[in-house]
Amino acid sequence: MIKVGIVGCGKMADQHALQIQRVPGARIVGVCDAEPLMAKQMAERFHIGGTFTNVQEMLDTVKPDVVHITTPPQSHFPLGKLCLESGSHVYVEKPFTVDTPEAEELIKLADQKGLKVTAGHNAQFTHAMVRMRELVKSGYLGGKPVHMESQYCYEFTDPSYAKALLGDRDHWVRKLPGSLLQNIISHGISKIAEFLSGDRPTVIAHGFTSPFLKGIGEEGITDEVRVIIRDEDATTAYFTFSSQIGPAPHQFRVYGPKNSLIVDDDHQVVIKVGNKEYQSYLRYFIPPLGYARQYLGNLNRNFGKFLRRDFHLPNDAALKTLITAFYAAITGKAPMPLSYREILLTSRIMDDIFRQIHDQRGS
């Protein structure tokens, strides 16, 4: 049995707990929150025995094999360090840490201790992303990606997050170096990072405040970002974050030398763009039929999973997949679901983006 502890009993912790309960052989043995009422409510609802307000006390008492850290990002590094030093593996919610030096130190410590750490990049494990990865591994692209496009957007019309953030000048998101962006874009960046070579890609970022936010007096928040990335093998990528596109797209396109793939994460659709020639006007008639067939195939795949109780909401399903894979890695049954290189590269690209946006704002 894998004994699990959770630090931070907010909304993310609930999502984690629901998925951990679905992982065979895992049991939540303790929850911890600086606010005792929050720890208590979570323990009550999930029937968890150990309730703590002090992380060290939880680590000493229930000795969890793995700790999930679902607190605001500013505390990820010190808490992660504490858990590793006490001998627990660590799952850190995104963003992994506040900056790359912290990420490097945490990973280094995990290695020194013979423990494992992972980042909450669960968007990498939606049904569609898993299928995309399988196709890429099978060689469908015909080589290393030539170019990628990652769109990871957020609509400010969604009241739950916007209300909390815009209504509270002291919200922890505002205090992150990358503010709103830092709490959201790691999902979109990690998709690109997975396929980049080298450790120091070139990053050119442009960020600004949307007219919508300016209109409500929120000029301090950057909510529009366009990024160009190039690695040492000349693979390039565009990343887009926008709060103003409706509906907010979450898409990933990867273009290979031979074929390409389109992942529509909003609808869990993967479309293969094949390099097949048709004579004359047939190119306008045959491929659309092929696309229609692919969309029907996606419907069939999604609905089949639903009937088998294996679909769930994509982010929940992805979280369960990542947690299951991480636990398998902990027990030595499988490789790590996310490489440290990918986690660090995501962090470095994000640091670069925030630095450039900060400089642009300064100038």
Binding site: M38, Q41, R45, S160
Partner: protein, 366 residues
Amino acid sequence: MGRCQTAQELNLDSDQSTYIIDPEGRILVTGANGFVGSRVVRALLASGFKGVRCLARSTGKAGSLEAIVRESGEESVEVIKGNLLSRETCLKATAGVSVIYHLAAGVEKSYPGCFLNSVVATRNLLEAAINEPALKRFVNISSIAVYSNNGIPRGGLLDESSAIDTRMVERFEPYTYGKMKQDEIVLEYAKKHDLPYVIVRPSVVFGPGKAKITDRIGSELLGVFLHKGLGNRIPLTYVDNCAEAIVLAGLRKGIEGQVFNITDDDLPTSREFLRSYKRQVRRFLSIPVPYGIWLLFCGLWERYSIWSGGQLPPVFNRRGCAVYWRGNTYSNRKAKDMLGWRPKISMQEGLRRFFEYMREAEGKKK
């Protein structure tokens, strides 16, 4: 925005000797920019109270606290923009107050969100309140939804003596869970610190400013309105009537530790409400769903939810189904007897105002 209550309509006691504070007493209203909170502020001001302090996360739009402050003259009202999760804000808000009307609540979708903004926020407010020597009453606004009707026969009376539903998680209602836990913490502080409190549990509050037909009548599923209330009496209270009951709960002498459910008189059946709505606001297709059928559907949904490991969350479940659609009768006798409250706006007039507001809202949609 529909028509607001006037001072003449309010008619709180002209003889205020039965009140625990005089018009100069300092009063705090949390959630003051909300649908009900703003009406409580308006009622207090219209009744001549001069030391009303409003706490709200924002003051624009919603209940239009800004407009109320402008109308009343700023010398009677103090507005604090802040969040009860900040202990400093709680201390600032409670300083020197005699009565606290606590209407702020967590209305998020998640359990932790509702719990944080209802229970933790209330605990912070209570912590500040118990150290306030001037405090004479803490009025906690709960909800009639916290009761269980398990054990009450169909059509039986649900009143202040009914049992609280302690299995709220099975109902999958984060808001009501938060409210139930909020009541618990108020009772805990009352016991530990001798806090003088009153709990008010409004039924479904309706009126201009809230463009929604209560789920107790029915809800839309795939574009079709499922009419689930049928012959049930719907526990409604018009927003200004409710606000007045809340105001009285904070003022009336000799009611410490009491709980009051607030429903208006002449409650319509769900059928009557829907018929009038369609006639006066908008015609639409509705399908009557008998209780037994809906209960069966909820039971099957609940079982599927468990079987599928939550692939579909248990939003429809038998426990919630019973509370909202099995049908009960309600009483406002206690509020009338002990608070001296009367719903001043008749049900007919309240519905007329609500339908007029909804007509405007529907018109704007087009």
